[in-house]
């Protein structure tokens, strides 16, 4: 009995996860084409977006640029690089803000605005839909 309940819970969880994957678009993490950064690991990207690190692995200053709360691309980004759903991200920033450890990244409305700002600022890092890539920015991580 307990085993059946466990299996059906697991099945429900798997269905939820696969429903999430079905709607997923390819995401790319970008820096300016003028930045010397060429590739980052998901955990290095997560550190910067979660204000755990203010620098790239080479020691240069890093500033994260986010999409707004409620953006599907944002939800997918944090689910994949930080294993956190929107509620967990909110709880995370609650901890950071109300202990004085950090503030969430600046938010922009869409991929085009993120690409434009990141292209102009070598310290900045953002994420956009893969289809929004152009020569002004460099992909440093493809998020599947």
């Amino acid at each position: 009995m307990a085993r059946q309940v466990f299996l059906s819970i697991m099945l429900a969880a798997m269905l939820l996860v696969s429903a999430g994957l079905a709607g997923a678009a390819d995401l790319v993490v970008i820096v300016s084409a003028r930045s010397p950064v060429t590739a980052l690991r998901a955990d290095q990207v997560a550190d910067i977006f979660l204000a755990e690190s203010a620098v790239y692995p080479d020691g240069r200053e890093a500033t994260a640029i986010d999409l707004g709360v409620g953006s599907p691309l944002r939800d997918e980004f944090y689910a994949r690089v930080a294993n956190r759903n929107p509620a967990l991200m909110k709880a995370y920033w609650t901890k950071m803000i109300f202990t004085g450890r950090g503030q969430p990244p600046r938010e922009l409305p869409n991929s085009a605005a993120v690409r434009k700002l990141v292209a102009e600022n070598p310290s900045m890092i953002g994420y956009i839909e893969r289809s929004a890539l152009d020569a002004s920015v460099r992909p440093v991580l493809v998020v599947h």
């Binding site: 429903a19 202990t99 938010e107």
Partner: protein, 419 residues
């Protein structure tokens, strides 16, 4: 950009809360839109009701914020309810923050209290200094325990967190972030003092606070170790100790042993949290030794939860024990004249009454968190609590008909929100 279809369908079943949710959503944005803004404002709050089946005492989350669930009221709103607001200013390497919290206090009022107010200077990217009123980093969740939204439970396990309810310190601290052995580390040193109002006329103080708190993160694992010491400046029950001192060497020995003023208090804590996203498990153990009638307490808990979309069922077990006796013989009464024997017996009763407030207690908890909006969560929790060793556990307002050792239930329903 059109939203993918599955977001809409998955939201439809929650349509009946959309009225509440849309109100919260519209008021719900942290710093956000423009990172260049120097001012930030945010807040957090909890609205909750608590019921306890132990009617001979009141259930509380901490001794400094007395709840009234059980004896005083059938349903108490003041165990967990609070409101906090925070204003921040940041310019280059300098930042300043003020946080004000309103909650039920020992003066039976809801006077707003400055929870912290400090100025921070970022010396380097990894080293920062703060001066002012600073959150005390005791235990894993201590510095954000008032922001209930950030906690998995209705409240941090009372066995450990009520053992040292002080949440801030006036002084300085330094935090240094560093990497080693594949771990991200943060080490914090602090010096300060703190006080809390116990009544309209009495404050509890801890002076000469010195502490170190260290956190290491590796992947989804977070480890924390804390050690803090300080000197207590508070005269609890002075008439008891004046009385004891009238009974010769033994009375003097008992008074020195159990009085609080001038005693060195030490706190150590060890904790871990593993949260890969789909589930979490965390646990802590701590020891608070006040070398007085406030006790030498060890406490800990183990907790876990599993996330199913917006629903997170969780459980916890926790325990507090006393490393010193919670009942003593006190003054010898044999051979004393009747009047002196009666006085000695009364003092012994007073001393044992004080010691019976050192919590020895077990709790098993089960709860469910529902993130029904993007900045609010509903939590239902049931705690099965048993006081032990003749003590009244973490209960307050203990009545004469209270009997230790009875198991009782605490039911809580709260909404936590942030804005």
């Amino acid at each position: 950009m059109p939203k993918p279809h599955h977001y809409l369908t998955s939201c439809r079943h929650a349509a009946y809360v959309s009225g509440v949710a849309s109100l919260l959503l519209s008021a719900c944005a942290f710093a956000g839109e423009d990172g260049a803004r120097p001012w930030t404002f945010g807040g957090f709050g909890t609205a909750g009701m608590v019921r306890s089946s132990e009617h001979a005492a009141d259930f509380s989350a901490t001794p400094l914020n007395p709840g009234r669930a059980g004896h005083s009221r059938a349903w108490s709103y003041d165990v967990d309810s609070r409101l906090g607001a925070q204003l921040g200013y940041s310019q280059d390497r300098w930042s300043a923050v003020v946080q004000v919290v309103v909650e039920h206090n020992l003066k039976n009022s809801y006077t707003p209290v400055v929870e912290w107010a400090n100025v921070k200077y970022q010396v380097t990217r990894d080293l920062s200094l703060r001066v002012g009123r600073i959150a005390l980093p005791l235990f894993l969740t201590a510095d954000y325990r008032k922001a209930g939204y950030a906690l998995p439970w209705v409240r941090p396990p009372v066995e450990l967190y009520a053992a040292l309810p002080v949440s801030n310190s006036d002084g300085i601290d330094a935090s240094y972030r560093w990497r080693a052995f594949g771990m991200r580390n943060e080490t914090q040193l602090l010096f300060g003092r703190t006080s809390a109002a116990l009544s309209d006329t009495m404050d509890a103080r801890a002076n000469g606070l010195a502490g170190v708190s260290h956190t290491s993160r590796i992947g989804s694992l977070r480890l924390n170790a804390t050690a803090i010491r300080g000197t207590l400046g508070m005269q609890v029950a002075p008439e008891l100790f004046m009385g004891l001192r009238q009974f010769g060497a033994e009375g003097g020995r008992l008074a020195s042993r159990y009085e609080t003023d001038g005693k060195r208090a030490t706190v150590i804590g060890l904790g871990f949290e593993y949260d890969p996203g789909q589930w979490f498990v965390m646990g802590e153990a701590g020891r608070v030794n006040a070398r007085s009638m406030l006790g030498d307490k060890s406490a800990g808990y183990l907790s876990g939860g599993y996330r199913l979309g917006a629903w997170t069922p969780y459980g916890a077990i926790s325990r507090a024990t006393s490393n010193t006796p919670t009942a003593v013989n006190g003054l010898p009464t044999a051979g004393l004249p009747p009047a002196a024997a009666a006085a000695a017996s009364a003092l012994n009763a007073g001393l044992n009454d004080a010691l019976s407030h050192i919590p020895v207690q077990d709790t098993a908890s089960a709860g469910l968190r529902w993130d029904f909006a993007s900045c609010a969560a509903l939590k239902l929790q049931y705690d099965s609590v048993k006081t032990k060793a003749g003590t009244s556990g973490t209960l307050n307002n203990v009545q004469p008909d209270f009997r230790s050792g009875r198991r009782f239930g605490v039911s809580s329903v709260v909404v936590d929100f942030v804005f």
